[in-house]
Amino acid sequence: MQFFFQKSFIAVLKKLLKKNSYKDCEKAIIENIFKLKVDDLFAHCVSYRLNPNAKNPIAKLRVGDGQGKSSSYRVYLIAVAVKNKYYFGYMYPKQGVYGQDALKSTEESKIIKTLLKDIKNEAVIEVCLNEAQDKICFTSNKKEVFE
């Protein structure tokens, strides 16, 4: 499996990680997405498929904090799967300081449109886990994305 982030996705996640209530958001994404070493990732986490009867699913994934944490949040990620490649285009939290309402159809279409454009222009960035499997790195230089 290969993972790709849109630049705007990285920016949003960086912003979230600065806040205490979302500080383990990267960890949650690693545990709930990156560590699922299965071909059909979407079938193994709480995910909704947006497009019906699709060859390449557009999915909304829900990632939450672990049990027993004092902080409580859920973030939603929008991703497109093309064969074994997963492209992540947007994320938003439901609770906390940056918590927001569910997206409207027009907003979702806009997000997917920009993601599609970036995929076509190869403007997405490939990422992977570091050796210790606890940080997300750029595949190209192995530097941590959220250091």
Binding site: N51, A54, I58, K60, R62, S72, R74, V82, T106, S109
Partner: protein, 146 residues
């Protein structure tokens, strides 16, 4: 005339009886706490399972009009149940939170209730709004061409 030994005997019996009933009372309280914990845990697990099942609806292909009618029913059921879940949580929170009881259990239950509500809303939005949107339909075809 009551002898000293009889008096002591009575005192001892009384004390033992008291301590036994005290122990019974403690056991009863512990049983009730465990019962409540089990009840909360069952509801939390059921809600999380429901959320996952609701999400699965969006992965079904070729939904017909009659399927959509069934989904509408599921959504209506989900919304009605959410009102009950919220009310139950609020009642339990009001009862036990001031005493500092079941803090963690109630927090997990609240998370599960919120997740369930979001799942119901997501399914409704995806099936009945997003997928009917022409812009989105065009985009979906373009994504499939990748």
């Amino acid at each position: 005339m009551t002898s000293t030994i009889e008096k002591i005997n009575r005192e001892i019996i009384k004390s033992y009886s008291n301590s036994l009933s005290e122990e019974e009372r403690i056991n009863e309280i512990l049983d009730r706490i465990n019962g409540k914990k089990k009840e909360y845990s069952y509801l939390t697990k059921s809600l999380n399972r429901l959320s996952a099942l609701l999400a699965k609806i969006t992965w079904l292909d070729d939904l017909s009009t009659s399927d959509e009618v069934i989904i509408s029913g599921i959504i209506a059921m989900g919304k009605a149940s959410d009102i009950h879940f919220k009310r139950f949580y609020e009642e339990q929170f009001k009862l036990y939170s001031p005493k500092g009881l079941f803090k963690e259990d109630l927090r997990e239950m609240k998370k599960a209730i919120d997740s369930h509500r979001e799942s119901v809303q997501e399914v409704e939005h995806i099936i009945f709004e997003l997928r009917k949107d022409n812009d989105f339909k065009k985009l979906s075809s373009l994504i499939d061409e990748l």
